[in-house]
Structure formats: structure tokens, C-alpha cells
């Protein structure tokens, strides 16, 4: 099963490599990982997406909790939550294709944030499968590059992950 694990981690050199090292050493897979500092400069917030049987996920959360840099974590699969991912797509454009790409981008609520005579950069946020669908809808040959943040997530409702 796919699990989204949300983590508060000390904003310190080496903290991220402990998490990455744990996953490679124990043979767990990381589907995606995002990390950035929070409003409290001593902490970073990490969203980690992984897959595994219930037993494996249980071990993953236990092993993560053992890392001294990890202050708190929550498996969002246990709670209803929202997920958003950011994607930038650079596509080649021409007079013939520009209109169609504009339309498609609108339908998916994308924003064109860079324009040259023969390219666009489109910004899009949403659930990961929406981003997949947009990429699939584009003409594959027109895609110059894509970059995705991987999902970030938080639980619904008034409870939050904080100290």
C-alpha cells in the first residue's frame, strides 16, 4: 500500500542523509521525498511517500522514530488528508500548437509562467494523478522537460503536526 509519512525533523546538516540512509540500508523504497524548513527555523518538514505491506510500513515508522533528528512523525494513511504536488513543464510551442496547449493548461488550471517564441513553462499544482493526466494529455514530442516536487501533504481538520 502507498503511505504518505509527514515528518518534523531537525533542520541540521546530515539529518536528511540519515533518513535516506535508513531507507537504502533497510531496503525500503522511497517513491518521493520533499523537504524544506518550516516557520520555526530549527525544524524542517518532510513529506515522504513509500510503499509496502502493513508490516513494512510499521517497521519504517518505528525505525524513523528512532532517528534522533526526527522530532515527530505521522502516517497520513491513518487519517484523511490532502495532498498537493507542484510541477513545472517546459513544452515546445509553435503557432499551430500554442492554442491547444493554452486550452489544455486552462482545463487543468495550469499557469504559464515563462514564454519564448517557441516554448512555454507551465506551472501546475494538484494531486499527483492530475499532474500525470496533464502530462499524458500533452503531445509527448512537445515536452522538453518536466520537474515535479513530489507530493506534500497534511491532515484534514484542526489537528496538526507541530511540537
Amino acid at each position: 500500500m502507498r503511505h504518505v509519512i509527514s515528518i518534523l525533523i531537525e533542520n541540521e546538516a546530515g539529518a536528511l542523509s540519515r533518513v535516506a540512509g535508513l531507507f537504502s540500508a533497510r531496503g525500503y523504497n522511497i517513491e518521493s521525498l520533499t523537504v524544506a524548513p518550516t516557520e520555526d527555523a530549527t525544524l524542517s518538514r518532510m513529506t515522504l511517500v513509500t510503499r509496502g505491506s502493513e508490516d513494512v510500513i510499521e517497521q519504517i515508522t518505528k525505525q524513523l522514530n528512532k532517528l534522533l533528528d526526527i522530532v515527530k512523525l505521522i502516517d497520513l494513511a491513518d487519517a484523511s488528508h490532502v495532498e498537493r504536488e507542484l510541477m513545472l513543464v517546459k513544452v515546445s510551442t509553435s503557432d499551430e500548437t500554442r492554442g491547444e496547449i493554452n486550452r489544455l493548461s486552462d482545463i487543468f488550471r495550469g499557469k504559464i509562467i515563462d514564454v519564448t517564441t517557441n516554448s512555454y513553462v507551465i506551472e501546475m499544482t494538484g494531486a499527483s494523478d492530475k499532474l500525470d493526466a496533464f502530462v499524458a494529455a500533452l503531445d509527448a514530442d512537445s515536452i522538453i522537460e518536466t520537474v515535479r516536487s513530489g507530493p506534500t501533504a497534511m491532515s484534514r481538520g484542526e489537528n496538526g503536526l507541530h511540537l
Binding site: E10, E58, K62, N65, K66, L68, D69, V71
Partner: protein
């Protein structure tokens, strides 16, 4: 008080009450060594190889419960220490390793003797630190000792760049009495609801077994374990790491379990309907084939580390907490409880166990005209009245030591179980002897293992640590040969050495006493002589039976009920008992 970084490290160790520092100098730690030169409180033990320092410190910790402390230089000094750090990590031993590092300004530039110690040790430490500011040393050291010794213990590395110990930069120092790490709060008591559930199951068991291990030793809970076991009159088995946590000579003890455990211990596990697992981690050497592990049992597991629980074997009632506190909680619930275990069921269970016991699965040929390794350990047990500290290396000799030296007290049996590190025994014996100068200390080893850290014989002379080395010399890497007999049609691929040193001459060259023993009747007198030489290190080279194997054995991939037993002593492979 204004001190330099180097002085702060040494002053901190003194304030922490560190008695011994096991180390080896080099460029990156010269400021530190200069600070050591100016004081006498922390005694430095100069080993002959950094691996030796880690094993000696580790064994000091195992024998005392206090953390072992190591000091090594950057680069090769640090990498030489890694085997010992991993050894301590696998067995959850509290240890603090201070490693020198190249100056902060050149970190990352492939400077002379630079290795990324924090990176290299990350997977085999409980935590590690790189100190980047002289003002942080004291607090970081405090954190290191706190983390190493609390919760599930383990080694912690503190990597200190050379410029941080600069004698010309002095800063205020005060011993930090308290420390808080917001992300770290080791569990203490068990959940009361879980305790009650566990006690109910415990009292309803028909065929119970107590399966306890290293956690009881680490948590100093032998008294509580013994009390609860006596109170219930249940059979108890120990892992290799738990030996001594419960008195081996007690009638409720059914011996070690697992790959080379006793027939009665393994069958009791297999037939049980209830297991009380205490401070154990369901290692594969213990469980055998997981699918066939304790098929009928409800399992209660007490462990301080939630990650040990349901890692390989799913348990029914987990209790996260310190073993000493949890056992005390259980004891008070038990004593209040009106229910008592069913006498009838228990006596039926005991009579089955007695039948298994009658197999006498550890028996060996006592009339052999070559020295049997088991006989040497048995005699050692008698000569030392069962009260010695025994360190060991890794191989058949380690298993014979575990089977034939009956440990009645915790912290007497000092061996590398999780990593299985050959070379552990001799430096470990030195560490133990420093901790307990009045006690008898023997290292049970093999001719292959002893050569991995033999240089520490020189350390033993310098620090006058008279240990007895019991070399069970079978001219084979016996454990490897045994597996080759079982699984590779006796193709002995590189499991022996064509040249073996003259250990007697070698011992003498290092300034010790060497004795060679070739006949069974000379075993006892040699041991008596060795232990009578109170202030000498004695190396006894016992020329033992080359063909002897360790039984019982659960071959890999098999379950507890499929042990191979020795029938006719001396025959290499025996019939299988189903």
C-alpha cells in the same frame, strides 16, 4: 574555567567519571593527546590496533554496565575502529567513540587522512556528531553519553576536527549536568493495560516458556527475571546474549535456544502455547524458519525498542518499556492476582520437558584419546568454580563455551553475538580484566580467531592484565568446516590454514607464558597451573579433535523441531530427529 577544546574533552571525561580511555594517537588527535599527557585521572590504554580499542572498551561496558570510551585518529584510525563500532551496535552496547577529523577548513577536500567518519558510521551507530565549534564540545559529549547509555544502548561517535581542539583557543567550560534532546525520550514503564493483559495470558498458559535475552543483561533485571520465573515455576531459556541473566544451574533453566540450543529448549518453544519474550529480538539464529516458529503460541514481548517488536515475528501483546520496570510492574500485578497457574497442566508440561532433557543432547565422547573441546570448557568451568568472566571469539569454540560454561551471573559471558566478530575475544578480555582486576578472566578462542587481534598480547603485557587464553586449536575454521560438511559435501574450501604459528613461542615472544596441551589427561593440570599464575597472561594452546562438530544444530531454513543431534560421538553427520 577557561580550557582549550582538547582540554575540555579530557576534563569532560573526568567529570563524567570515565576510568579508562582505549585509544591510539595520530595527527588529528595530537592536541587531545597532549591534554591527556597533563593529567592522571582518565587512564589511557594504548592498544596495538584501533579494532582492539573498540573491543576492549565494548567488553569493559559489557562487564560493568558503564559506557566504554574510545579515542582514535582520523582516516585509518577511524576506519580501523568501524568493525568494533558495528560489533557494539549489533549487541546494543553503550560506547562513546571520539574520532579526530581533519581541520574544519579542509573537510571535504580529500585532505590527508580524511574520511567521512560520520557518513561511514551512520548505519552502525545509535547516533553520531560532528563538532564544529569548540563551544559545543561539552554539550555534545554530554549528549553522546546520554544517548549511548539510555533507552536501547548503543555506540555514539563524536567526530572532532583538529582545529576544534587547538590549544591556543580557550573558552569557558562547565560540566553540563543535565541535557535535553527534544526528539529523544526513551520509554520507561510499560503500559498498565498491557501489563494486565499479559499477566492474564501468563496465568492461563498450559505450556509456557520464558524466552529471555540480552535486554535483561543490558537492563540489569536478572533479579526480577529470576523472581518472576521462580514465582511461576515456568521453564526458561536464554539466547546466546542472555546467558547468565538467569542462573544456568537452576533446575528451571532448559539451556540456550536456537541454532545450537538444546533439544529441550527448542522443542519446548515449538510445543509451547505461550511465550513470554523478555529483552530479545527474535534473531534468525534463534527462530530458525519463521513460518514454523512457535506455531501454537500466544506471544507477549517486553522490549524497550518498539522497532524490536513484531519485526520478524508478529506478537500478540507488545509491552514497550524498560525490562526492570516492566517486570516489577508484572510482579506486583501477579502477586495481587488471585489466579495461579494450573498445577496440573504445568506438571504435565514439565514431565514432557524432562523427557526431552533425557536425550542429553550435549553429551560428547568422554573417553576420547584426543582432547575434546567440550571437555576443555567443562574443566575450565570446574577450575574457575563457574565464577570467571569468559570472553570469546567466533566459531565452534564460542558455541562450546556457551553450552558448557554454566553462567549463573549476568555480565560474565562476553561475546559478539549479532555481528559475530572474530578477533573480539582477546582485546575484550583485556577490557574485562581492567574492569575487574581481581576476577579470573579467560578468553575462549580458536586458532583462526585469535590471529585477528593477536597483537593485543602486547597490550596485555604493558598494562599487566593477566588473562588466560584458552585456544581450542582444531587446525580448522571449525564452524566453516562444519557448514561445509552439512551443505557442501565436505569440500573444505579454504577453511584451514596450511601454516599456523607456534603459539607457545609466540606467547613467549610477547612476554607471556605459553603452554601446549596435547593429551586429555594434561588439560586439568594445565588449567590449574595457568590460573595459579595469578599475575601472568597465559596462552594455553589445546590441540583438540579436528573433527568435532557443534550439536544440536538447526540447519538454516529449518524449524526448531528439526534439530540434528549427535548420536554416535565423533561421526560428523548424524540422523535427523523429526
Amino acid at each position: 574555567m577557561e580550557l582549550s577544546g582538547g582540554q575540555i574533552v579530557v576534563q569532560y571525561l573526568k567529570d563524567e567519571g570515565v576510568e579508562y580511555l582505549f585509544g591510539y594517537p595520530g595527527g588529528a588527535v595530537l592536541h587531545l593527546y597532549d591534554a591527556i599527557f597533563h593529567q592522571q585521572d582518565v587512564k589511557h590504554i594504548l592498544v596495538r590496533h584501533e579494532q582492539g580499542a573498540t573491543h576492549a572498551a565494548d567488553a569493559y561496558a559489557r562487564a560493568t554496565g558503564k559506557p566504554g570510551v574510545v579515542l582514535v585518529t582520523s582516516g585509518p584510525g577511524a576506519t580501523n575502529a568501524v568493525t568494533g563500532i558495528a560489533t557494539a551496535y549489533m549487541d546494543s552496547i553503550p560506547m562513546v567513540i571520539i574520532s579526530g577529523q581533519v581541520p574544519t577548513a579542509v573537510i571535504g577536500s580529500d585532505a590527508f587522512q580524511e574520511v567521512d567518519m560520520v557518513g561511514i558510521t551512520r548505519p552502525c551507530v545509535k547516533h553520531n556528531f560532528l563538532v564544529k565549534d569548540v563551544n559545543d564540545i561539552a554539550e555534545t559529549m554530554k549528549k553522546a553519553f546520554y544517548v549511548a547509555t539510555t533507552g536501547r544502548p548503543g555506540p555514539v561517535v563524536v567526530d572532532i576536527p583538529k582545529d576544534i581542539t587547538d590549544p591556543n583557543i580557550k573558552v569557558p567550560y562547565k560540566y553540563p549536568k543535565k541535557i535535553k534532546i527534544r526528539s529523544y525520550s526513551p520509554p520507561t514503564k510499560g503500559h498498565p493495560g498491557q501489563i494486565i493483559k499479559a499477566v492474564d495470558l501468563l496465568l492461563n498458559a498450559q505450556r509456557p516458556v520464558i524466552y529471555s535475552g540480552g535486554g535483561v543483561v543490558l537492563g540489569n533485571a536478572s533479579a526480577e527475571l529470576t523472581e518472576i520465573t521462580h514465582l511461576l515455576n515456568y521453564p526458561i531459556t536464554n539466547t546466546l546474549m542472555g546467558l547468565g541473566a538467569y542462573p544456568a544451574t537452576d533446575k528451571q533453566f532448559v539451556g540456550m535456544l536456537g541454532m545450537h540450543g538444546t533439544y529441550e529448549a527448542n522443542l519446548a518453544m515449538h510445543e509451547s502455547d505461550f511465550i513470554l519474550a523478555i529483552g530479545v529480538r527474535f534473531d534468525d539464529r534463534v527462530t530458525g524458519k519463521l513460518a514454523e516458529f512457535c506455531p501454537h503460541a500466544t506471544i507477549v514481548h517486553i522490549d524497550i525498542d518498539p522497532a524490536s517488536i513484531s519485526k520478524t515475528v508478529k506478537v500478540d501483546v507488545p509491552i514497550v518499556g524498560d525490562v526492570k520496570l516492566v517486570l516489577n510492574q508484572m510482579l506486583s500485578v501477579l502477586k495481587e492476582h488471585k489466579k495461579r497457574p494450573s498445577k496440573k497442566a504445568l506438571s504435565a508440561w514439565w514431565s514432557r520437558i524432562e523427557q526431552w532433557r533425557e536425550t542429553n543432547c550435549l553429551e560428547f565422547d568422554r573417553n576420547s584419546d584426543v582432547i575434546k573441546p567440550q571437555a576443555v570448557v567443562e574443566q575450565l568451568y570446574q577450575v574457575t568454580k563457574g565464577d570467571a568472566y569468559i570472553t570469546s571469539d567466533v566459531g565452534q569454540h564460542q558455541m562450546f563455551a556457551a553450552q558448557f560454561y554454566h553462567f549463573d551471573k549476568p555480565r560474565r559471558w562476553i561475546n559478539s553475538g549479532g555481528l559475530g566478530t572474530m578477533g573480539f575475544g582477546l582485546p575484550a578480555a583485556i577490557g574485562v580484566k581492567l574492569a575487574h582486576p581481581e576476577a579470573d578472566v579467560a578468553c575462549i578462542t580458536g586458532e583462526a580467531s585469535i590471529q585477528m587481534c593477536i597483537q593485543e598480547l602486547s597490550t596485555a603485557l604493558q598494562y599487566k592484565t593477566p588473562v588466560k587464553i584458552i585456544n581450542l586449536n582444531n587446525r580448522y575454521m571449525g564452524m566453516v568446516r562444519q557448514w561445509q560438511e552439512f551443505s557442501y559435501e565436505s569440500r573444505y574450501s579454504h577453511s584451514y590454514m596450511d601454516t599456523i604459528p607456534d603459539f607457545v613461542a609466540l606467547a613467549e615472544a610477547y612476554g607471556h607464558v605459553g603452554i601446549r596441551v596435547e593429551k586429555p589427561e594434561d588439560v586439568r593440570p594445565a588449567l590449574e597451573k595457568a590460573f595459579a599464575l595469578k599475575d601472568r597472561t597465559v596462552f594455553i594452546d589445546f590441540i583438540t579433535d579436528r573433527t568435532e562438530n557443534v550439536y544440536p544444530m538447526i540447519e538454516s531454513g529449518k524449524g526448531h523441531q528439526e534439530m540434528t543431534l549427535r548420536i554416535a560421538p565423533g561421526t560428523p553427520i548424524d540422523r535427523e530427529l523429526a
